[in-house]
Subunit: 358 residues, 2 copies
């Protein structure tokens, strides 16, 4: 076993970012006599798995070779035949695996299939890195809830808009470019109805060859204007989450006619956890929360934020009537506040961000 091959497999896996969801990112490397003879990664949703690319690149040379793969090879017949079978058929001698399948129903089955066929298998190699790479997938599969990533651009005094609601622009262009990349990485963007009413955003990704994200609005009282961009410009992936009490509202029919999905939850004060379960049911593995203070505060209060990036601009409003990014808590001691974990500092010109993951 040589870590450098798993490192390479992880690099390959990352190339699929933004194109494979809600599938996991997977990379594979076939090695023989200290030389890489085949490489591959899962390139797009529904396409062949990483192992297939790597094994086919190696061809007959794969016989007696080692394979390094970042996720346990699948053992079931799905869109493609099981990768474990292909590894066996190609005559691989040893198989090195970073992380096991997070689905408890199938986890370990791939390994068993390989071992039963006499292949030497070693697991949990660079597992930490592999789990980090697939944070979104791991949560989505194991908890059946969408992964929630907070994106927020604030002034130095923690505001997201002035007292008049003006918010263009707090962060600089370099930071906003990064936001476009995040929008390409996650399958969905979530906002609250207040943000929709105030900004009337289109929530499209502006990355070249990028993918349009699911646009999710939390709208308990079904206030979405029928002439808003989200209600008129159909990308086939708009979701309005509203109250069961609005089920028979005429607006619902109109939204449906416009190809907009509607999701119903009990009452009006939704739990973020319930929202994330519903979005997971729609097949959305991860969501960027671009909400205003209401949704951000709710998500923090319920401890439902899995990670995030908070961009800080060197601007100050100094106005207690300006809109804070978070509110509603009552904290007596500094140590009782929210403390972000695993913080990484990123610079974007004169803007800076704190990226964090639990």
């Amino acid at each position: 076993m040589d870590k450098k091959y798993m490192t390479r497999a992880l690099e390959l896996a990352a190339l699929g970012e933004g194109a494979v969801n809600p599938n996991p990112l997977v990379g594979a490397v076939v090695v023989k006599d200290g030389k890489i003879i085949g490489e591959g990664y899962h390139q797009k949703f529904g396409g062949p798995h990483a192992e297939v690319f790597a094994l086919e690149a190696a061809g007959e040379n794969a016989k007696g070779a080692d394979i390094y793969v970042t996720l346990e090879p699948c053992s079931h017949y799905g869109k493609t035949p099981p990768c474990a079978k292909k590894i066996i058929d190609m005559g691989i001698k040893r198989c090195f695996i970073a992380s096991l399948d997070p689905n408890p129903l199938v986890s370990g089955r791939g390994v068993k299939m390989l071992r039963d066929a006499g292949i030497e298998v070693e697991t949990q190699i660079m597992e930490k890195e592999a789990l980090e790479l697939n944070r979104v997938f791991m949560k989505y599969i194991s908890e059946k809830k969408s992964y929630l990533f907070l994106k927020c651009g604030i002034t130095l005094d923690g505001k997201i808009a002035t007292r008049k609601g003006n918010s263009k622009w707090i962060t600089n262009e370099i930071a906003r470019e990064k936001v476009q990349k995040l929008r390409n990485k996650y399958m969905g963007i979530m906002i609250g109805i207040n943000t929709l009413l105030k900004d009337n955003p289109s929530l499209t990704a502006r990355v070249e060859n990028g993918r349009d994200p699911y646009r999710i609005v939390i709208d308990p009282y079904l206030e979405i204007p029928l002439d808003s961009k989200l209600a008129t410009f159909d990308n086939g992936k708009t979701v309005v989450i509203t109250s069961e009490n609005k089920m028979k509202d005429k607006k619902i029919e109109i939204l449906k006619e416009r190809n907009i999905q509607t999701v119903f939850l009990e009452g009006e004060n939704f739990k973020m956890e319930d929202i994330l379960k519903k979005t997971a049911e729609l097949g959305i593995d991860g969501i960027i929360l671009e909400g205003g203070s209401y949704l951000i505060s709710k998500a923090f209060e319920e401890n439902q934020i899995d990670g995030g990036e908070i961009f800080i601009a060197p601007k100050i409003l100094g106005d207690s009537e300006a809109v804070p990014f978070i509110k509603g808590f009552e904290v007596d001691n500094i140590n009782d506040g929210i403390e972000l974990e695993n913080v990484k500092i990123n610079s974007y010109g004169n803007n800076v961000s704190m990226e964090f993951y639990r």
Copy 2:
């Protein structure tokens, strides 16, 4: 002329940081036949000037050599004979100067003395770097006001304390170490009476071989408790700035007996500019503002902040009753807010800072 020698002279100058105030930082390098034959810097207040060290190190070899000096050599007989005279006497051929003396009464005199003696003089070499190095001195001499540097440690939502006034600790140890270095760099620390009443700080520098800063309290109503640390622990450099209306207060006598300086200003709502003029009169060239929101807001409102470093911790209070670092402004559009200039991002573990200068 070779910039590398001026770069070296600037490096040398910086070595005097924290020890020469309210004198400027100055470095000098003597060069002959492409070789450095003498180096020096102003090492401590009242000690020999940079040129003296450099020329004496060069000795008789200085004859026919070049000298690079970061500030115009002095031309007056003060604590030491004028450096311009020494440069002439040692037989220097050419003199390269970064920045001229900021004092309009003497600026250019050193250059003239040298030229009158037949020395070739070139000025404004790497002037920008030299002016930046002596920001504090330049303002102090040219405006007769102390330089004001904001230091502030905030949560991500811009708070400096909880609703109960708890503020220990917002920033991490690495960031707090940097604060100790700043306290050593600037001659004074300024706080408001509210910070004194709440925290009862001692405001000492904890840098090894460091110097105790002047401790300046803005206390319009003379509320300073006689048993507070600042009023009892005498470092000979405590200054209480209060109202003229308090001139005959019995407390004033007690403070004077305790070797505490008192400064009087008109009314109770002091202008920061007037405060900085008074502190300059006391010979304090630069001050770190460690105040609470009242002083910080006042200083920003009057546009009296010359530079600063705002440390941000990955903590969130989310409490509108917590203490913001700045308040009292009314801003409708993002672009009408305060925008920090010349921002530099510094990382301190999971804390980050924005350092800025006008």
